[in-house]
Each structure stands twice: as C-alpha cells, then as structure tokens.
Amino acid sequence: MTDTAATGGPVLAADGTPLKKSLARALRIQKLRALALIAPLLIFVLVSFIIPIGTMLSRSVANDLVADTLPLTVVALESWDAESGELPDEPVYAAFVTDMVAAIAVKRHTRLGTRLNYEQTGMSSLFRKSGRKIKKLDPAADAPFKDTLIGINKDWGDVETWKVLKTHSVRITNGYFLNAIDMRRTPEGAQAQPEDKQILVTLFQRTLIMSLVITASCIVLGYPVAWILANLPARTANVLMILVLLPFWTSLLVRTSAWKVMLQQQGVINEVLVWVGLVADDARLVMINNQFGTIVAMTHILLPFMILPMYSVMQTIKPTYVRAAKSMGATDWTAFWRIYFPLSVPGIGAGSILVFILAIGYYITPEIVGGTKGVFISNRIAYHISSSLNWGLAAALGAILLAVVLILYWAYDKIVGIDNVKLG
C-alpha cells in the first residue's frame, strides 16, 4: 500500500501486468485445475445420483398427463362449478370428445384412465371401454355430445367423474403427497382417506420404530465384540475380524433365507427346544413372519456396519487411560464408564448413523421374513413402483423418507454433534 502510494501507480508483475490481476489469474488457474481434478467424480455424482433422484422426486408433484391429454376439456371445466351438483354443459362434453379422439389416435386415453383410477375406482375401464366407441365419433359432425356420451357410458352422466377430472387437472399437484400421508385431494380440499384405506402413516411409524430397535440391538451386540477385537493381540484380532466380515461376503438373500430355516416353526431352533423339552411340540415358538423375525435377521445383517466403526475408534483409545484411572482408585466399572465409554462414543455414533440409515430403507429382508406386521415403508414403495405403477405416489413416499432421514441427521447433529462421529 505504501509502495503504491510511493510510485503513484499499481504494483506491476514481471511481465508488466498489475500484480493484483496477475495474482487473480494464477488463483483462477489453480481453482480450475482443482475443479478439473474432481470433475470426473462431480460429473459421475451428478449423472448417476443427483439427476436421477431429482427427476424421480419431481414425479411426486408432476401431474401433466390430464392437462396434456385433455387440454380443451381442462379449459372448458374451469368455468364449471364442481360443488354445484349439476353436470357440466355441452361445451365441456364437446371439448372432451375432441380431446379424446385426438388422444385415442395416439393411445393415450388408456394411460389417463390408469392415472385417474388411482383416485377413483372404475376410471380405467371407463376410459378403455368408452374409447372404443368415442373413436367412431366425429367432433365436427356428430354434436351434440352430452347425451351421446352418457349413452356410451352412464358414468359420463355422474358428477363424480367430472369432479375427479377437474380436481386432478392441475399440472403441479399435492395429491400424491396427500395420498402418502393417508389423505386425498378433493374439490373441497384435503381430506382424510376412509379408515379402511389408511396404512402408510402406520407403516412410516413402524419403519422408524423398528429401525431404532435394530440400531439399539446392534449397539448392544456389537459393543462387546468390538471391545474384544480392539483389546486382543493383532494376530488373533485379525482372525476374529474375518469372522465379522465373513457374513459381508455372503449373499444377502442366502443369509435371509438361512434365518428362515433357523426360525420357522419346523426350524432348527424350535426343533432343538422341543428335543430338549423346553417347548411342547404343539406350542412351538412363532419367531418368523412377524416383527421379531425382521429385527433378528436385520440386526444380524447390519451388525458389521456397527462393529467396524466401533472397532476402529476403540483401537485409538490408549489402554494407559484406563490403567491411570484404576491406579487412582477407580473400580473396573467406574474406569470403564467414566473413561473408556465416553472415548468410544464417536464410534457408537458413526455405527448408529450407518445402521439406522441403512435399516430405514431396507426392502428385501422385511419382504421375506416380515410377514404382515414386520414390513417397512420401502415394501410399499416397491409395490407402487413395480406393481401398481403409481410412480407419483412412490416418489412422494420416497421424498418423505428422505426428508425424515435428513431431519433425524440434523437433530443428531444438534444433540450429539456430527464432529463427534468418527470412522476411525
């Protein structure tokens, strides 16, 4: 600064450009080089992770099908009052026939029927069957259409049919999210689903509770194992480590099926208990196809994810700390509880986050051993993706699940602090 003041001009670099400019350029080149180094990873993450998840999640609100397939009808319906209890007038019917004739030509009307059938039972066949007859109509010559359509199928003379069309004609809808929390979109606003169709909120709660139980049992079972591993001589520890890792290398399906053989009523455990005489032959324990089965199998499968971070943290705890505590008069328990345990908490934290987040999205194990009460929300997501083809609802459920995980992660950060998590 004093230099600048002394010479009365900007400081110049060797090649005559101002130093500030030259420095900025050098920094920019450095930044670009750094960016180029991470570019492969960045592009990979973008292409394989963020874009697919983003497009999938956008389906939870996207609802273009109705407005794209029936553009004229949607406009014509705007002036119709759904609450009036009266059928729409001829212009709506005429617009509808024009739209349908165009849609049938490219076979989109049945897709629309499938879409609307999620909201109102019967729409699927209404569109499929009516399509065959509307195809023969001429939008210019055959008017008026109101009576013709009602003649083709009496449901076109039902106010409910038009209400559903109007309610779900918006391009951005909250309908899927409402469905995902056991509610539905109606002309009168959001309403609860009938009681006999409410299932998803229960499943969300069940998924959360069972994931917590699985995480807790992993902590209880994994902690002593990790402790032993960390305190044995390296050679023995390595051998034992293979035993921990072995299940990792076995197919998930094989391990899950093995639990089936173990736990079922004619299975290994029950046979042994009956043979020993602890359990009567006609009162065999029910240990599978329920929540117990899911918790046992998933705890076993996820256990390595708990043991490994615990082990690597415990390895860094110096035995001298516990010895020092004991030398100052602490009992074994006090030395463990006041010295060793607090030092091992970061390992528990890391393991818990891993296990919990893996558990909450688990699918195949609950499907096989979960029966009716031991299934997770992901099983419903899978059903809507592959069976009912209601991808909008599946995306909404997935988005909620993602939000729940993020909120829990945030809460964990607030309470425990994410800096306290160590993987080693």
Binding site: T110, T121, S125, R128, I385, S388, L389
Partner: protein, 367 residues
C-alpha cells in the same frame, strides 16, 4: 433390348424378394421370461427349434416379474432393449393400456391351426387384450400335506377356512386377488355373483371379515416358490400356489403333497411385443411369435412343465413328460377331472378395482 433388361430386372426382384424380407429382420433377439423351470420349458420347446431354423441368436432375460415397470422406464428413456416379453394377462392389459405393447391382429399375425381354424377362433376367449398372445393356461390352486390331514383329505377349497378340521398354518398369497374371491365363495356367495358382491364396499368388508377368521393361521407368500417350500418343510398343512410348482413338489420331489383342484383360478400367461421397436426387430419378434405360438409348439411346451396350452387345437397333442415319462394330460389344470369346479378370473374387474381393493387389503393385513 430394353424389354429384356426390364424382364431381367423383374426376375431378379422377384427372386430377391423373399431373401430381402429375411434380411430385413434382426439376427439377435432378447426374450424376457420368468426364469427357472418355466424358462427352461420355453428354451426347449420354442427357442432351440427357432434358432435351429433361422440361425437367430436368442438372449434370455429373467425379468418378467418387473417387466411392466422396466418396460415403462425403457420406453420413457427411448431405448427398449427387449424384443419379446412373457407376462401374465393382467400385466399385458396394463402394458396395452399404457401404450407400451404392440397391438396384434390374431388372424393375420398368428398361425392358424393345422385344420385351418383361424387363430382368433383357436385361442377363443383367451385373447383378453389386443396386445396379448396367450401361451399357457395356469391355475392358482391349493396343495395339502397328505400326512397331516389323516383320513380326512380336503375336497373343497373352503378347507382353508376350516381350522378345526385342518389345524395348522396355511399359506396364501400376500395380495387381494384370488383370496377375496375364495373368501366370498366360502362365505356362501354363488360363484357367478362373486364379482357383483366384490364391487361393493360391503362385499369387500365381507371378504376381509371371512379372511379375518384365519388371519393368525396364515403365512403370506410373495414368491411362487414359497408355498412348495413351506409344504415340503411341513410348515403349513395347505397352501396356494401355481399348479406347475405343485406338480414339481409332488412328481419330481416326491413329497407327501396332493393337489386340491377345487375352485382353482385360471389365469393366462403369454407374450407381448414392446411398442417402439425398430422395423427389423419388430419383424423378427413377429416372426418368432408366429412360430412359437403355433399348435405344435404350444403342445411341445407341456412336455416340460404342467401348464395347459392356450390353443384348443394343442390339447390333443399333449404327450408325456420329457424326463419323467408320465402322461402330462392328467396334470393339466384344464383336464376335465381337475377342472370340475373352476373359477374364471375377471380381468376387467381387477383392472378397475385393483388399486382400491389392494390398498384395503394391505391396510387390513398391516392391522
């Protein structure tokens, strides 16, 4: 001079025409099916002879269970990699509705029966969708452990609801389709009225109430192999599954299991061709379908698996099992002895009511 040239040209064109046609078809195709013994039966009966005749390489993909979702995703991505797909009729209807499957004209695009009967007449009512080419009739029916029922072998489907006469667990599929119908039949609804009753919300409640009486005694399955395994282990006294799976438990594995054909529900499995294939691939797929669904080929498949051929003209040609050497006819779900009391699955009904009833069913299950 000019004339001779023209004639020569015409002659070459005429000669080349059939050749050119063959060259316009792809030389490789991907066929999607269910895997296991079923795919093997198709390999023996269809793929191997077709490859031998035409030199076409056939790739197998065992993805039929997720076919609908995958085809939809492929279609959206604009890259359909499958040429012929094996699906159940209900899925074929969905694919057709979604515009994901090609519409087929049975009479021009499928082979007529040897006696000249047109394909549409030969398949008859089994052509349930414009896009669907039926292949086999299978049934979902019950098997029971002969050693667990004593002298009191069940003869009626309602045995599943009779926990006093037949104590022990039973296995049912973890979905509403079929179970709701059986529940109503056993609750006293006449067979022909089942779907009228099931249409109403009271009817649905009635079916669920009936199922509720055995809810604690049921193991719910989701894979076709579950019930055979549960029966073999003695975990269940009876259970529903596809008849071909039970055939394998009884005849191939010699387990103490017997068939309960009562109120078996017929369903269809067959081919669809995905929409949006390139002309060469579509021509190849149509050529394959023409071959693989003719009378003899459908009858051949029954040598390897106990599912009934979908053509009426194939039934008399069904012979013996290729390895076991037993007559296959008595093991067909369509055999008159087995088909004394059958239940016809209503596709239109389930296309409409599936979303609604399935949600109620799953909510009831989770309670």
């Amino acid at each position: 001079m000019k004339l001779t040239k023209l004639t020569a040209l015409a002659a070459t064109t005429a000669l080349c025409a059939p050749m050119a046609f063959a060259e316009d078809m792809a030389n490789e195709m991907t066929i999607v099916s269910w895997g296991g013994a079923y795919s093997k039966s198709q390999l023996k009966a269809y793929h191997e002879p077709y490859s031998a005749n035409t030199g076409v390489t056939i790739l197998n993909d065992d993805s039929s269970a997720e076919a609908v979702a995958k085809l939809r995703a492929m279609n959206e991505a604009g890259n359909v990699t499958w040429d012929v797909v094996d699906v159940v009729a209900a899925d074929a209807m969905r694919l057709c509705d979604e515009g994901l499957a090609l519409e087929i004209d049975a009479d021009t695009q499928l082979a007529a029966a040897p006696d000249g009967t047109s394909a549409s007449e030969d398949f008859g009512e089994l052509l349930v969708s414009e896009c669907f080419i039926p292949q086999i009739v299978y049934s979902t029916t019950f098997g029971y452990r002969t050693d667990m029922v004593g002298d009191n072998a069940p003869t009626s489907v309602c045995a599943i609801f009779d926990t006093e006469a037949y104590p022990g667990k039973r296995s049912l599929e973890k979905r509403s389709i079929n179970n709701m119908e059986w529940a109503l039949i056993c609750d006293g609804v006449a067979k022909e009225d089942v779907y009228d009753v099931l249409e109403t919300s009271e009817g649905q409640d009635r079916a669920l109430a009936k199922l509720d009486t055995i809810k604690d005694d049921v193991i719910w399955w989701s894979a076709g192999a579950d019930t055979p395994q549960l029966l073999a282990d003695g975990e269940v006294v009876m259970g529903s599954t596809y008849n071909g799976r039970l055939f394998s438990v009884i005849e191939e594995q010699k387990q103490p299991v017997a068939m309960l054909w009562d109120a078996q529900v017929f369903d269809l499995d067959g081919w669809i061709i995905p929409a949006g294939l390139s002309p060469e691939r579509q021509a190849r797929a149509l050529d394959y379908i023409m071959f693989a669904t003719d009378t003899q080929r459908l009858a051949d498949q029954a040598k390897y698996i106990s599912y009934g051929p979908a053509r009426a003209s194939s039934a008399p040609l069904v012979g013996q099992h290729a390895e076991l050497g037993i007559d296959m006819a008595p093991h067909m779900p369509t055999d008159p002895n087995n088909a004394q009391n059958t239940f016809l699955f209503n596709y239109e009904f389930w296309a409409d009511y599936r979303d609604d009833i399935e949600t109620k069913f799953q909510a009831w299950l989770a309670k």
